[in-house]
């Protein structure tokens, strides 16, 4: 397994004493595999992701082990951690506006990333930026490169962030509710692009979401989390048809039995 999380427990110090956020979380992501972390608010799914990236809160006590390609992530500090973040992991967060500097054009965001992290010359980086934008399905690449974040839609910005994420050819992409803030049609497009790109490039994906069906659409395996614990792991079909844990069943029951049309039904007329 490429990413191995074993017995990860995390608690943070609050006024009344330590509060446990993660309890004994164990999961793994194989090379090129897409794994989902599905849960509601307070399930600990985002904190698990943050632990891999080592952006957990400062007053957090972490026990357990996280290894990425054999490297012990939890013990990394300074330069080796920076290298890990620059080359092996990429993160796509929920709000693209928080990641993109509003006073810099998109080209700077992409070029800077490649120039700093991979040592490409500015000219080479700019060329590659154009290629990446095409890969994520953006037409009018030059216009977008020259634009500022506030001039582009949320969906467009997330595509840019995806382009930036795959630029470094990381072995693992961490995605934290990347489409929650988007319209449903945009969400479908962005997820399709993310799925296509990572498959093509053989990148693994750890996908955090509250939407079980969305995770099922792009993930090979799903971990269901509740209150800081992984309650069930399985392939999407199995979770849907034979959920082992009552909470998984509860998640399934919250969705209606679908009467909805789908494109394979043919035209609605």
């Amino acid at each position: 397994m490429m990413l191995d999380i074993r017995s990860l427990s995390l608690s943070i110090a609050v006024d009344g004493g330590p509060k446990e956020i993660l309890h004994d979380v164990t999961l793994a992501v194989g090379r090129g595999e897409a794994v989902g972390l599905v849960g509601e608010s307070g399930s600990g799914k985002s904190m698990t992701l943050r632990s891999v990236l080592r952006t957990e809160p400062r007053n957090a006590t972490v026990t357990g082990a996280i290894t990425l390609d054999g490297v012990d992530v939890l013990s990394l500090k300074g330069e080796p951690l920076r290298q890990l973040r620059a080359h092996q992991i990429a993160m796509i967060a929920q709000n693209p506006h928080a990641v993109l500097n509003p006073v810099l054009p998109i080209s700077r965001y992409l070029v800077e990333g490649m120039h700093d992290a991979q040592g490409l010359s500015v000219a080479a980086a700019r060329l590659r930026a154009g290629e990446l934008l095409e890969q994520v399905g953006i037409d009018g690449v030059d216009r977008v490169l020259a634009s500022y974040p506030h001039q582009l839609s949320g969906g467009m910005l997330q595509r840019v962030v995806i382009a930036g994420a795959i630029a470094g050819k990381p072995s693992l992409i961490l995605a934290d509710e990347p489409t929650t803030a988007l319209d449903v049609t945009t969400q479908a497009e962005v997820m399709a692009i993310l799925d296509d790109c990572r498959r093509e490039l053989g990148m693994a994906l750890l996908f955090v979401t509250h939407d079980l069906d969305l995770a099922a659409a792009v993930c090979d395996r799903i971990n269901v989390m509740k209150d800081g614990v992984v309650v069930e792991t399985g392939v999407p079909d199995q979770l849907r048809d034979h959920p082992a844990h009552p909470y998984t069943q509860q998640l399934m029951d919250s969705r209606p039995a679908s009467i909805m049309w789908s494109p394979s039904d043919g035209s609605g007329e």
């Binding site: 049609t185 497009e189 069906d213 792009v218 919250s254 009467i259």
Partner: protein, 285 residues
């Protein structure tokens, strides 16, 4: 493809919207945006109509105009057969509020964080009823019980309650005025999925028990499926399709409706770029 059917003209209509239009000017001297473009619809008494759309569809503006938070540029809104004024005075708002109430999207910001949640309901009772203090407290208690909360929740501050509980308070507040219509503006969108189901079930129960009429603004088709009898689909200020839920969701005619359905996550669903692109092209042609 445009929608020419304005729906049946009906004696039992609770809300009738006719030719509603509104444009916004975005910023100084920039382009005008047509938030609503000649929108007409009818909501039958006792039914639940869902208004579905993405951002920029105009669904929120429609809700705000009906409830009185905004005024339309042209067109009319009638509630229980009576046309409501464009620029609502305080008295007019109060009168409208006794018939139409609203439940907002964000449970956190729809309650005053400094006051016990009971005051939100009590305030509405004070405006719309002539009950004394003790009678009001009793009524608050009854309303809380109706929405599945207990007396000990009366004194709680919003931060002490969960999202679902806060939304129940918001529903109790809406019921306090004894309205005939409740407008729900994405009222379950901010809740966890398991809680959504509970709240929708509660809303459905209440509708049957009290003979309420709902106008439910949402972007989520599964919500539509769970609670709405009728649905209208909006895009860029216009209604593109309308009908019974089963018809619109099961046999959609307009390519935009088909696009929404093609993009709705559900068991067995996968996002397909080709399909999406084809439908988008069909819409703009």
């Amino acid at each position: 493809m445009s929608d020419t059917n304005t729906g049946p003209v009906s004696e039992t209509a609770m809300i009738t919207v006719n030719g509603l239009s509104k444009t916004f000017r975005t910023g100084v001297g920039r382009a005008t945006v047509a938030a609503l473009d000649d929108v007409s619809l009818v909501v039958e008494a006792g039914s639940c109509l869902a208004v579905v759309g993405e951002s920029g569809s105009g669904k929120t503006t429609l809700a705000r105009i009906i409830v009185g938070l905004e005024s339309a540029d042209s067109g009319t809104v009638a509630v229980s057969g009576r046309v409501v004024a464009h620029r609502a005075s305080r008295r007019e708002l109060r009168r409208r509020a006794s018939e139409i109430q609203m439940v907002f999207q964000d449970p956190q910001s729809s309650l005053n964080r400094r006051l016990p949640v009971q005051t939100a309901v009590d305030e509405v009772l004070r405006v719309h009823t002539s009950l004394g203090r003790d009678a009001r407290r009793l009524r608050c208690s009854e309303l809380f019980a109706l929405v599945g909360l207990s007396d000990e929740h009366l004194r709680a501050l919003p931060e002490e309650l969960s999202g679902g509980q806060r939304q129940r308070v918001a529903i109790a507040r809406a019921l306090a005025a004894d309205p005939s219509v409740i407008i729900l503006d994405e009222s379950v969108a901010a809740l966890d999925v398991t809680v959504q189901g509970q709240i929708l079930a509660l809303l459905d129960e209440l509708r049957t028990a009290k003979g309420l009429t709902y106008l439910f603004i949402t972007h989520d088709l599964s919500v539509v499926q769970l609670i709405a009898d009728q649905v209208v689909v909006m895009r860029r200020g216009k209604i593109v399709e309308r009908g019974a839920t089963a018809d619109v969701l099961g046999r959609p005619r307009h390519p935009y409706t088909q696009l929404l359905l093609a993009c709705a996550p559900r068991p067995g669903w996968k996002p397909q770029r080709g399909v999406i692109r084809a439908l988008r092209e069909e819409i703009t042609s």
